[in-house]
Each structure stands twice: as structure tokens, then as C-alpha cells.
């Protein structure tokens, strides 16, 4: 049962092999047993989950089940859940219970999905290793001394360790794709605006996008069918018709033109990881695709621009945490200034404070043009690079991360090295494009991720390509021993 992804569970539920209540109970028990070593969940929703499972079974008995009715999932603790704590990995929101559901959560609830719990994450999604969480680091199920990646490290660890069949996640600079690569999962970041951000706690509003961490492309397609769509409550969710994302999974890849960005295979890429990626590309050739070297000449600028834009937006997004209307408030404030300063200094962790400072600095008088405007111009440069590339090729492929998962604590004192973790993924967010990371092999028994980048709103095509690769390979079925 625990080996099954969404697609298989859905078939089992439909065949009556077991009930949602049985699956849910089994998962809850497994989480209690195994998660102590991983710390992938912040909150377990035992009561609600069982109630949802019973309701799902009743729906099924009435013959009204959808494909996802009764499937248990976990949500990254960045999505607001009515009546259940939503912490965003921060002490600031340790006591925060939203009176509303994020649109993503609401959509899954409507589809009859069971919420097992809320997964651990880097505080306010700021991190690439899941070490900045107020609730402690998450461990990688492939090797508990290693990080699972971040910021969606809890979701990734939980899916990889079979503590849920799949999970929601968010990606601002690589926060879905990099943990997917580190944990051997399929991680989909849809096009900016494809999935509603309403009720998803903002880090950097123009970059944040909700997506999935799953064991297969097919599962990602099943989830995206529920998540995608225009939301009138989110001005940046784009009103373009959704597709049936499972419909094209089986199309052959004959004639697919794959662009290989030379910059993603340059210095800094681990040789073993590169070999796995090259092997994967050969696999695509066997499937009928052709490879073409392309250039993304400004890709080296993406991390720099990102570390202006994301902190700048974050510095304003996080101003609302002031101890007045909800969330953490310092004890016994002496005056207004003291209330603000102590609440925010005690409520936020080091990395969050660091990014608020960078963002505030970049926007402050005298620096705005040199930093913020410059970064926005680089952003256009990067988008233009992709536009030029996509005039020649259908998709772009390369490594998701320059190496496999690293040791917990090995980079915590060096923010710049940590920021460079997302060197291949960040440009995709700046350009708003969809990207997916799929398992492409193991190096020293640690997973390697292949990143596939598509044109805007081509999720269906990306999932088709990923699915065909997964039909031809079995890297995505490899699981760690737990």
C-alpha cells in the first residue's frame, strides 16, 4: 500500500481493495512510527483526516467519487488550512490558525482528498536545505545525515519516505525541484499564474508558485488537474483554460527538440551528476528526441538578480507580522517601537531576518536604481534568453542541482554558498516558466534530478515528456530504505 502513488491508490479505492479510512489510518500510524527520525511533519491532522476519509468513503458508496476521492495527501505548511495551524515554519505563526483554506487546499477538499498533515519547511520558504525551520531540520530519507533540500523539504522527505503518497509544495527559486532532485521525486513547478496563490503565505509574490511533489509524472498530472485554474481572488492567476493534464501522457516523443544549455553543464557541476544527466538525455534520443546545444548567456546573473527581487518583495510581504492582529507578540512591550522590534526579532529566525535586511537595503533611498531596478532589468534579460532559446527548441533540459544532497549543517554558516544551490532553477522562476524535476539516476545511492523547462502553460507537454521518460526508466521507482 505504501509503495503506491496516487494513480495506483485511486485504482485500488475504485476496485474496493481497501477504504480511504484504512489507507488514512495506516498512513497516520506509519507517520507516528517513522517521522521521529525525519521530522517531515509539523502538524498531524489525525481527527480531521479520519473524518475526511469517512466522508470520502461515504461519497464513494454513493457512486460520486472522483479520481482523488479518499486519497490522503500532505500539504506544505505554507498553505492556510481552516481550523488547523499554519506556521510557515516560523515561530511568528506558531499559534496561527487561519479561519480560511487556501484555494489549493479548498480545491483538494472539494475533490474529496484527505489531509494527513502539514509538512515542515524552511521558515517562510527561505532556504534550500530545510534547516531554517523553527521546528528543526528535516532529514533526507536516503541518508538521515543529509538535507532533503528546501524549502519544501518536509513534503519531499515525507513523500520519499512513504509517509504520504504525494504532497503539495511551493517553488520560489527551486523549492520544489531541488528537494525533488535530492529525494528522488517528481517535482512540478507550474507556470507562474497557473495555480492560485490565494491562502498560500507569500514569500516573493512575483515568483511564488504552488506545485507538487510526487512519485511519478502521472501523479503530478492528477494533482494538477485539481490545482490548476484561474482564481478570481488572485489577481496574478492567469485566466487561461486548463487542460486535462493526464490526457497527453502517452504521446510519443518523436521529433521532440531538446535544448541543452551549455551554461548548465559548466564548472561547478559534479561529474557523476553530469554523467547521469547525459545518460538521461541519451534515453530521450532513444525515445525519438533530438538534442541541440543552446545558450542562456545571462543565466549566471540569475542568482544575483533573484537575491535582490525575492528579498525586496519578502521585506514588504513580511511587514504584516507586527504582533497586532495575529501571530506572535513579544511579552510586555514598552512602547510601539518595542512591540514591533521585539516581536519581529523574536518571531523571525536568522535567515528570514537576513533576507528582510537585504530586501530593505535594496529598496532603500539611494540604492533602488542600482539594485532593484537593475535586477528587474536582468530579469528581462533572462526572460529574453529563454524566449530566444524557445524559438529553436521545444524544451530545455539539464541538471536540477549541481550535486546530490549535502550534509545537514555543512552550509549553514555561509549564506552565499547556500544561495548558489539554486543556480539552475532560479532563472525559471524569474521567467515564470514551468519546470519539472524527474529522477535520473543515483550517485553513491543518492538521487540525481533532471530538470525539464517548458514554455509558458505547457505543463501538459512537460508531464507527457516526464511520463514517457518514466515509462522507459525506473529511477522514479527507486526508494530509500526506511
Amino acid at each position: 500500500m505504501f509503495k503506491s502513488g496516487i494513480a495506483e491508490l485511486s485504482r485500488s479505492l475504485a476496485a474496493g481493495e481497501f477504504s480511504s479510512e484504512e489507507i488514512t489510518s495506516a498512513y497516520l500510524a506509519r507517520i507516528k512510527e517513522k517521522d521521529k527520525a525525519l521530522n517531515s511533519y509539523i502538524t498531524l491532522c489525525e481527527e480531521q483526516a479520519l473524518a475526511q476519509a469517512k466522508a470520502a468513503d461515504a461519497t464513494r458508496a454513493k457512486g460520486e467519487a472522483s479520481l482523488l476521492t479518499g486519497i490522503p495527501l500532505a500539504h506544505k505548511d505554507i498553505f492556510c488550512t481552516a481550523g488547523i495551524k499554519t506556521s510557515c515554519g516560523s515561530r511568528m505563526l506558531d499559534n496561527f490558525i487561519a479561519p480560511y483554506n487556501a484555494t489549493v487546499v479548498e480545491n483538494f477538499n472539494q475533490a474529496g482528498v484527505v489531509t494527513l498533515g502539514k509538512t515542515n519547511m524552511d521558515e517562510f520558504a527561505m532556504g534550500s536545505s530545510n534547516e531554517t525551520s523553527y521546528y528543526g531540520p528535516v532529514h533526507n530519507p536516503w541518508d538521515k545525515d543529509l538535507v532533503p533540500g528546501g524549502s519544501s523539504g518536509g513534503s519531499a522527505s515525507a513523500v520519499a519516505a512513504h509517509l504520504c503518497p504525494a504532497a503539495t509544495a511551493t517553488d520560489t527559486g527551486g523549492s520544489i525541484r531541488q528537494p525533488a532532485a535530492f529525494c528522488g521525486l517528481t517535482g512540478l513547478k507550474p507556470t507562474y499564474g497557473r495555480v492560485s496563490r490565494w491562502g498560500m503565505i507569500a514569500f516573493a509574490s512575483s515568483l511564488d508558485q504552488a506545485g507538487t511533489l510526487t512519485r511519478s509524472a502521472e501523479d503530478a498530472a492528477l494533482m494538477l488537474n485539481v490545482m490548476a485554474g484561474h482564481d478570481p481572488k488572485d489577481s496574478t492567476s492567469i485566466d487561461i483554460a486548463t487542460e486535462n493534464y493526464t490526457a497527453n501522457l502517452n504521446r510519443p516523443l518523436d521529433g521532440l527538440k531538446i535544448g541543452i544549455p551549455v551554461q548548465h553543464f559548466a564548472e561547478g557541476l559534479n561529474a557523476d551528476v553530469e554523467q547521469k544527466i547525459r545518460n538521461a538525455l541519451s534515453e530521450f534520443e532513444k525515445l525519438g528526441a533530438t538534442l541541440k546545444d543552446i545558450s542562456l548567456p545571462n543565466s549566471h546573473q540569475s542568482v544575483s538578480a533573484y537575491y535582490v527581487i525575492a528579498p525586496a518583495e519578502a521585506s514588504a510581504n513580511l511587514s504584516r507580522y507586527d504582533g497586532v492582529r495575529y501571530g506572535y507578540r513579544c511579552d510586555d512591550p514598552q512602547d510601539l517601537e518595542d512591540l514591533y522590534k521585539r516581536t519581529r526579532s523574536e518571531g523571525f529566525g536568522t535567515e528570514v531576518k537576513r533576507r528582510i535586511m537585504i530586501g530593505t537595503y535594496a529598496l532603500s533611498a539611494g540604492y533602488y536604481d542600482a539594485y532593484y531596478i537593475k535586477a528587474q532589468k536582468i530579469r528581462r534579460l533572462i526572460k529574453n534568453d529563454f524566449d530566444n532559446a524557445f524559438a529553436e527548441v521545444d524544451v530545455i533540459m539539464g541538471p536540477t542541482s549541481p550535486h546530490t544532497a549535502f550534509k545537514i549543517g555543512s552550509q549553514t554558516n555561509d549564506p552565499v554558498t547556500m544561495y548558489l544551490e539554486d543556480i539552475y532553477t532560479i532563472a525559471v522562476n524569474l521567467a515564470g516558466l514551468p519546470g519539472i524535476s524527474v529522477p535520473a539516476g543515483l550517485v553513491k545511492n543518492l538521487p540525481v534530478g533532471l530538470q525539464i523547462i517548458g514554455k509558458n502553460f505547457t505543463e501538459s507537454h512537460l508531464l507527457n515528456i516526464a511520463h514517457q521518460f518514466q515509462q522507459a526508466t525506473d529511477w522514479h521507482t527507486q526508494t530509500p530504505e526506511i
Binding site: 510557515c88 488572485d234 489577481s235 496574478t236 511587514s319 529598496l363 532603500s364 533611498a365
Partner: protein, 476 residues
């Protein structure tokens, strides 16, 4: 030394929408604290803004009315600062790409001349909440009902040269927004607020350092606040001092401006484009659609009143300042057909009463049909203008229409020339001394005879007939 005053105004107008600029919360006045503050207004995590269609329409309508450039691409920005009445820690406003660009407003000055005052820009933004400083055990209470209410901030060029010009500008602006129906302009509720950037310079010299005077919430205070600030600056400069660029609060009780030190610290607002909103893109067709909904505006209406009703510029101006007054006037004319008399009655007699009673014309106890009926009785000689005032008083007291009042009070004018001749003859016979004076060239006594005759007739004799007959008889 001759000092010149330079004033630029920033006027915040609350748009007359039903809901907030970015959320579906009501903006109705006077609700219980925080009952009109939803999850977005309170800046709960994950909540997002969506722009109110009506607020955009109203802003564009204003722009079209002042012949301004309309921003085909306008952008919202975040203005960052911490304050308890600002839940998000930033105000969503517009900085570099406002919805309304350069336009102008024609203002009639006291001497009757018209001055064109430039409008730099107008942009949409959110209002903040309210801090209540009553003592909650030494703490301040925050009510966020007003947070997110749509405002249009209108910024004038520094082309205003005196406090009275500033008042004239504001009154014209007030008149315009009421014509457009984009705000109720109620200054007492804070629905129209004004900040004034004031500086002085010696004639012909460069602009002086300005101070921003805040918290001016009535036309009367605009004049007082500016005058007191100008006087302060001149005194300072003449004593060899310097004006500091700062924000000053007007205190209407003490009639003084004073420095707001708390606002001086670090005005580094770190504006940047609001990433939760997309640029607002509109096209010419949209602008034309809104232009087509424009009502007749004050300047056009004034011109029409002068042409169509042959009114003087002054009368036309007085009647068109306020849309309700203009509409009232036209309704009166519709009934009586006499524009000149209608103009006098509306702008003098009725207005005097309304001012005294402090009620708006829309609530006048004398409706236009009644006033028109009264004027009809003057023009058909049923009553004299003088008696008409008596009838009007009765109308104000709710005694019915002119016809009934005249009948029940017996105020009908005497137009029977036989009767008037008899009265004239009697008065002449009773006052031989005055007759002699008149006939010896002292024509001033003519008025004495008229007075006596009107007294005799209890004011009801037709004055024109009295004049004619009296003249005839006395010259014999």
C-alpha cells in the same frame, strides 16, 4: 520686501464605491469598530488584493473631466512604513504610473477672473485605519474599518498664490467631484481631506523651502491654516531664519501649525511595484466609454445658463457651483418660464434661508414646483414681488402652494385702476403740503405718496399702476 506665496494642494477624495479598493468589505460610515475589516483588510497571511472596477472607472472619469492624460498602463506600488493603522505594513498606492496624468482646472477668483490651475496627477490608493487614543489602560485602540477604503489623491501644481485661491480651487474641485458623482465630498466625515504645501519667496526669486500642512478638514480652515503658515514663514525669514522642510499639523483650536516630529523620522518609503497586482491596462475605447457617461460639467453648464437663460456670468456661476442648486433652478424655470426671477429667488431668497437653516437644497421645504408657482403669481400680476416674500415665508412654514396662501391670506394684488385712483385721490387730498413741495420741484416726496398708498392698500396695490396713476394726478 514683497513676498509671494506658493501653494500646491494634495487632496484626498474618498471614492463613492460600495466596497473597498481591493476587498469586498463595506465602506459604509459609522459601523462598529472592525466589523468591516475582512481577512485581507487585516493583512492575514496568504490573502490577496483584487482591484475594484468601479474605483477605476471613477478615477478615469475624474481624469476625463479635467482633460487629463489617462494612464493607459498604470501601476500600483507599495509604500512601506510601519504604523498600527496600516495592517500590511505598506500602503498600496501609485507612484510612477498614476491612472491620471497632467490636467487642469479653471477656477473663478474673487474678482471674477478665471485662472487655470494645473493638476499634476491623480492616483488611486488605499486609506488607512483609525487609531483611537481614548485611554484603554494607557494603550491605543485600532479600528480597521476604514483601512482599504478607495481614495483618489489629486495633486495640484504649485500654481496657487494665496489662501483664497486655494479655497476657490478646492471649492471648484468639490463641485466637480459632486457633479461626477465620484464622491460625496463630505469634509466633516473626512471624505475630502486636504494637505497644503506652502512656501514663500521674494517676487521673482526661486521657490522657497516648503512645509506640508496637514489635517485641514474644512474650507474655512484651509484659508486660516495657509494664512497662518504663510505669516509664520515670512516672520521667520524676515528675522533671518530658515524654513525647514517638514510636515506640520494644523491645530484649528489654537489656529496654529506645529511640527509633527514623529513623522520626520526616516521617510524612506521604499516604493516598489506591487507584485500582487498586475499593471492596469486600459484602451482608448474604455476611456471613450467613460467619457460618454460624463454629465454636463460646471463650466459647460455655466456657459449654457448664460446663453439659454440670458443670465449674467455671476448668476450663472452661483447657480452652477453646486449641481443640486443648478438642477433646482432648472426645475423652477420649467414651471414658471422666467429665468431671471428664478435665478434671483433661488440664489438670494432660498439660499439665504438654506444657509441660515443649514440644510442642503435637496432638503429644502420649498420644492421647485412651489417656487415656480410663486414666481408665476408675480409674473401674472396676482401679487407684487414684495408680497411674494410674505407668501414665500408662508411656504417655508409649510402653508401650501402660492395660490392657496394668497387666497387664505387675502394677498391678491389690487389691479383695478378705479380702486387705485380712489386711493391716490384720497392720499393727495390728505397731504396738500407734500403736493406743494412736489410741484415746486422736490421730486423726492414722490416716494412718500407711494408709501402712503401702499399702506392704504395693505401692500396689495400694483406698484406699477400706483406709479403711473400717481404721476398723472400729481402733474395735473
Amino acid at each position: 520686501m514683497e513676498w509671494e506665496t506658493v501653494i500646491g494642494l494634495e487632496v484626498h477624495v474618498q471614492l463613492a464605491t460600495k466596497s473597498k479598493l481591493f476587498s469586498g468589505s463595506s465602506i459604509e460610515f459609522g459601523a462598529e469598530p472592525n466589523t468591516q475589516a475582512n481577512v485581507f483588510d487585516l493583512a492575514l497571511p496568504g490573502t490577496l488584493p483584487v482591484l475594484n472596477k468601479k474605483a477605476l472607472e471613477m478615477a478615469v472619469k475624474f481624469g476625463v473631466a479635467i482633460d487629463a492624460e489617462i494612464g493607459l498602463k498604470s501601476v500600483f506600488d507599495r509604500k512601506n512604513y510601519f504604523y498600527p493603522d496600516l495592517p500590511k505594513g505598506y500602503q498600496t498606492s501609485q507612484l510612477d504610473f498614476p491612472i491620471v496624468g497632467k490636467g487642469s482646472l479653471d477656477v473663478t477668483l474673487e474678482d471674477g477672473s478665471i485662472k487655470t490651475i494645473g493638476i499634476t496627477r491623480a492616483h488611486m490608493e488605499e486609506d488607512a485605519g483609525k487609531s483611537l487614543h481614548e485611554d484603554f489602560h494607557g494603550e491605543t485602540g485600532i479600528d480597521l474599518n476604514r483601512a482599504g477604503t478607495p481614495l483618489l489623491e489629486i495633486v495640484s501644481e504649485p500654481e496657487i498664490r494665496s489662501a483664497t485661491e486655494a479655497v476657490a480651487f478646492l471649492k471648484k474641485l468639490h463641485s466637480l467631484i459632486l457633479y461626477l458623482g465620484i464622491s460625496d465630498g463630505d469634509m466633516s466625515k473626512g471624505n475630502m481631506r486636504c494637505d497644503a504645501n506652502v512656501s514663500v519667496r521674494l517676487k521673482g526669486e526661486e521657490l522657497g523651502t516648503r512645509a506640508e500642512v496637514k489635517n485641514i478638514n474644512s474650507f474655512k480652515f484651509v484659508e486660516k491654516a495657509i494664512n497662518i503658515e504663510v505669516a509664520r514663514q515670512i516672520e521667520l525669514l524676515e528675522d533671518g531664519g530658515r524654513v525647514v522642510q517638514e510636515t506640520r499639523l494644523y491645530d484649528s483650536e489654537k489656529n496654529e501649525t506645529r511640527s509633527m516630529r514623529s513623522k520626520e523620522v526616516a521617510n524612506d518609503y521604499r516604493y516598489f511595484p506591487e507584485p500582487d497586482l498586475l499593471p492596469v491596462l486600459i484602451d482608448e475605447a474604455y476611456i471613450e466609454e467613460i467619457r460618454a457617461t460624463l454629465p454636463e460639467l460646471p463650466d459647460t453648464k455655466r456657459q449654457r445658463f448664460m446663453n439659454e437663460y440670458k443670465l449674467s456670468e455671476y448668476d450663472a456661476l452661483v447657480l452652477t457651483n453646486d449641481l443640486a442648486t443648478a438642477n433646482y433652478f432648472e426645475a423652477v424655470v420649467l414651471v414658471c418660464g422666467n429665468a431671471k426671477l428664478s435665478a434671483n429667488w433661488v440664489s438670494v431668497d432660498l439660499q439665504a434661508y438654506l444657509n441660515e437653516a443649514e440644510i442642503p437644497i435637496s432638503e429644502s421645504p420649498v420644492r421647485p414646483e412651489l417656487l415656480g408657482g410663486l414666481i408665476n403669481k408675480i409674473t401674472d400680476n396676482t401679487i407684487s414681488s414684495k408680497i411674494a416674500k410674505t407668501v414665500f415665508e408662508a411656504m417655508l412654514a409649510g402653508e401650501g402652494n402660492a395660490e392657496n396662501i394668497i387666497k387664505t391670506k387675502g394677498l391678491k394684488q389690487v389691479t383695478d385702476s378705479g380702486a387705485i385712483e380712489t386711493m391716490v385721490a384720497t392720499v393727495i387730498a390728505n397731504n396738500p403740503e407734500q403736493v406743494e413741495q412736489y410741484q415746486s420741484g422736490k421730486e423726492k416726496v414722490f416716494g412718500f405718496f407711494v408709501g402712503q398708498i401702499m399702506k392704504e392698500s395693505k401692500g396689495k396695490a400694483n406698484p406699477a399702476q400706483v406709479n403711473q396713476i400717481l404721476k398723472d394726478k400729481l402733474s395735473k
